[in-house]
Symmetry: C2
Subunit: 185 residues, 2 copies
């Protein structure tokens, strides 16, 4: 059983959310979805093409004065059904996060403790940045009066990012102590 192609569902979903060009989708994902998804142009444009071929989307060419021409994509009823059908499927497997900090820690016996602690410090500060970014986006969405139907769901995914990031930061602090105790022994 080949794994499902999530890319097409991400694109179909974005089509329902007011993003109609490949460029706009890329911007959206990099800006507001990057806490749990990423995508490249090399996936977006071929997928849009395929969605049209499959009848899940339609394309309109529009030439704008002052800007390059663009292809605007719109989801079809069949596309909407495909999206809804995917939403109903239960999640098959938990994602595995490939984490190169943990990979380094796993082999850190070969390294000085203070160096390992540096790694943890850097990691912690990056987590902190991430936390603030998520908190900022949440603020922005909440203060934005034009609440669409999507808003509560977007908040939920941000909360996931906030709470797991916080847990990771706590772990950094604890781990630093553990390493220092280990050193003293």
């Amino acid at each position: 059983m080949a794994k499902e192609n999530y890319t097409q569902y991400a694109i179909l979903g974005l089509l329902t959310t007011g993003y109609h060009t490949g460029y706009a989708m890329k911007q959206m994902i990099d800006g507001s979805l990057n806490h749990f998804w990423k995508i490249s142009y090399g996936q977006i444009y071929p997928t849009l093409k395929r969605l049209v071929e499959q009848g899940f989307a339609e394309v309109k060419l529009s030439s704008q004065e002052g800007k390059p021409d663009k292809k605007e994509y719109f989801i079809t009823p069949t596309g909407e059904e495909t999206l809804r059908n995917w939403l109903q499927q239960p999640i098959q497997e938990l994602p595995i996060e490939k984490n190169d900090l943990l990979l380094k820690l796993f082999f850190s016996r070969h390294q000085d403790t203070y160096n390992t602690i540096d790694l943890l410090d850097t990691y912690h500060s990056k987590l902190s940045e991430r936390y603030n970014t998520y908190a900022g986006i949440k603020e922005m969405i909440l203060s934005d009066l034009c609440d669409q139907g999507d808003t509560p769901f977007w908040i939920i995914t941000l909360d996931y990012g906030l709470c797991t990031t916080e847990a990771a930061m706590d772990w950094c602090v604890k781990t630093k102590e553990t390493l220092l105790n280990l050193k003293e022994e």
Copy 2:
């Protein structure tokens, strides 16, 4: 700047930890490293070959009676230096976990609340399984008297898995409530 090739460092690290064949490495990663790393044979064998070409590893062919021949790989001093050098490099960027549950939640406006809650329940039970698996491995490592120098570092990475998994479970519970409240409004 091309992204670093982490695969080779994972392999180099495993060579220092008593895993000397591609098969053994795959077993190890699937069993004990899968909370933050995964790898396929399609990465392992070509990488081993390349490590030998670069002088980071040496290979010995050994024919065992009863079992297929195997190629045993050993890290060289140059390989060890390469590994240590990588360990010292600070982490460049936080990993982005691609999470298809969150992708579905993000678009769940198109779906019945109870269906969304089903998704969350399934996810929670999988997280719980994962938590128990990690706790089990931790127990096993701690109770194993032959403590190597690696042990404390392995525990640390497991703790990361335990605490972020717990945070995600808490989020599931909170989110369920949020969705039900939303429904009642």
